[in-house]
């Protein structure tokens, strides 16, 4: 099994890499952070002895992604799984940030994810099953004031993946979306979780469980994976509550959390 992981030097990407290595899969890891890639390759080889290839790539650049896939092809690698992890989170009102940082979310979370997915699908051989996982978010299930662009970008990935799944069903491709709550990865993420107080802890998922269950469920051909009982209940409540009401409630919650968060950072 050869697995391509984007954003592999970040918290969730690393957890996926470790999980896949633990299962004995060979890895092809990419990220913009080259030092981070070197470190995770070393760590995985020392622990698990699987084959790990790394290549730095800016997924927002067409030329970079082409070079990445040319490199993998030159090594004769055929991917059995693509984990689309690379993405950015973002806090703050739409008008509180300059447009370039808003645009960066769309470029990375949506455009870059679609770019690499399209190009990987182009070069695949249809004889082999391909598993694709999109890392969406619990945030994709609701319109979220103060995280409007981020939540909508994750909504895009969720809807897109469900649609793509139907298109490619007959072509030996299985597509799944992962919708986690908070994940304790970076210092920022940890601040974000504690800023939300009780609900931050309640909706936080265990990174090690998310990584392992995601791979298991993807292999079983599942459509969506929402980790955690509380998050699943929230997702159902979100479906039956009018969206404008959800938005109003979330605005109150995030407004409070945001003020707390600003204090922490």
């Amino acid at each position: 099994m050869n697995v391509l992981i984007t954003g592999a030097a970040g918290g969730l990407g690393r957890a996926f890499a470790v999980e896949c290595a633990h299962r004995g899969y060979n890895l092809f890891l990419t990220d913009v952070n080259e030092a981070g890639l070197v470190a995770i390759r070393e760590g995985i080889i020392r622990q698990y002895g699987v084959s790990v290839t790394i290549k730095k790539c800016d997924l927002t650049s067409d030329a970079d992604v082409d070079a990445l896939l040319r490199y993998s092809q030159s090594l004769g690698l055929r991917f059995d799984m693509l984990l689309n992890v690379a993405g950015i989170d973002f806090e703050g009102g739409f008008m509180d940030r300059d447009y370039s940082s808003i645009s960066a979310i769309i470029q990375l979370n949506i455009e870059a994810t679609l770019r690499i997915t399209h190009k990987v699908l182009e070069i695949r051989s249809t004889d082999n099953k391909l598993f694709i996982v999109f890392v969406s978010s619990l945030a994709s299930l609701y319109p979220i004031p103060l995280k409007a662009t981020y939540a909508a970008s994750k909504r895009f990935l969720l809807d897109f993946s469900i649609a793509l799944r139907e298109e490619l069903k007959s072509e030996n491709v299985s597509v799944m979306s992962l919708c986690p709550g908070g994940l304790p990865t970076t210092q920022d993420a940890l601040n974000g979780i504690s800023a939300q107080g009780f609900w931050g802890d309640a909706t936080t998922n265990r990174l090690e469980m998310v990584a392992s269950n995601t791979i298991s469920r993807a292999l079983k051909g599942r459509k969506i994976y929402i980790p955690g009982v509380i998050n699943r209940i929230f997702s159902i409540l979100g479906k039956i509550t009018p969206r404008s009401l959800v938005a109003r409630m979330l605005y109150i919650r995030w407004n409070r959390a945001q003020r707390q968060w600003l204090k922490l950072t």
Partner: protein, 285 residues
């Protein structure tokens, strides 16, 4: 002038040890995670002990490439200002985590910082210790006694139990000190593990959340001041020749847990070498 390196020296036990040793006239080299913390700690020490010789280096010891960079900087400093001699290396930097989080290498963070960072830094600075019959101290904990090594899943990757991962990292400190003495005690370099007891520090409230944060808030209130355990570190640095024994509490040799034995120590030592991609010199055995 005797030189000592203390990691995690900007707060808590490390800071108290730095202060106690600086008062005794040691050249104290502290290591902290951020430049701001280091500067604040240095200023505070100098204001309390005017004329003391204090230097600080900063780096995130969770990441091995940072440990290597720090070791380069520290080596250059020791060569230049300390006659290439280091009387004591105090591996004190440590953390508590409430969730499974990894270092850049994908290693669980408590294991990576509390054990591997000291294992690697000691390897890098070993030549300086050897030159002056130096000693290596580790901040362990009596909680190691309730713990066995989780050999099947050393990083608790399959399911994370924060407290187990912490206790195991403290058992690792014991095992490292044990294996270190097996190898190097006859060359005059000794390792000691210190049980600081329950100390009122911030360790359980940094980058933690939920239950761990809450429990530590309640628990630390019953802890003693960090100056109390600092005396044990001072005692171990001062003894000439070096004290025997392995595990100390209140300046006294203590019994350690039954899991601290040759087999476990050797197994961890070999595994740690593999995880750091280093090999301690073998001719000493």
């Amino acid at each position: 002038m005797r030189t000592v390196i203390i990691t995690g020296a900007t707060s808590g036990i490390g800071f108290a040890v730095a202060r106690a040793l600086a008062k005794l006239g040691y050249h104290v080299i502290g290591v902290g995670r951020t430049i701001e913390n280091c500067e604040a700690a240095r200023d505070k020490l100098l204001s309390e002990i005017p004329g003391a010789r204090i230097d600080f280096f900063y780096g995130d010891m969770m990441q091995q490439r940072e440990v290597h960079r720090l070791a380069d900087d520290l080596s250059a400093h020791l060569d230049r200002f300390c006659g290439g001699r280091l009387q004591a290396l105090i591996n004190n930097a440590g953390c508590v985590r409430s969730w499974y989080t990894t270092s850049e290498e994908g290693y669980e963070q408590q294991f990576s910082l509390n054990h591997l960072s000291g294992f690697l830094l000691t390897y890098r600075l070993f030549p300086y210790l050897k030159r002056c019959n130096g000693r290596m101290l580790l901040t362990s904990s009596s909680s190691h006694k309730m713990m066995k090594m989780n050999w099947k899943d050393i990083m608790f990757k399959n399911r994370y139990y924060p407290l187990m991962a912490y206790k195991q990292s403290k058992l690792c400190n014991m095992l490292f000190a044990y294996a270190f003495n097996t190898r190097f005690a006859k060359e005059g370099v000794r390792a000691y593990a210190v049980d600081p007891g329950l100390v009122n520090t911030e360790i359980g409230n940094k980058q933690t959340g939920g239950l761990v944060n809450f429990v530590w808030r309640l628990r630390k209130a019953h802890g003693v001041s960090a100056d109390t355990p600092a005396q044990t570190y001072v005692y171990l640095c001062e003894q000439q020749p070096g004290a025997d024994g392995l595990y100390y509490y209140h300046c006294r040799k203590q019994k350690y847990g039954w899991q601290v034995n040759e087999a476990n120590a050797e197994r961890l030592f070999k595994m740690s070498e593999q995880l750091c991609s280093i090999e301690y010199e073998v001719n000493a055995i």
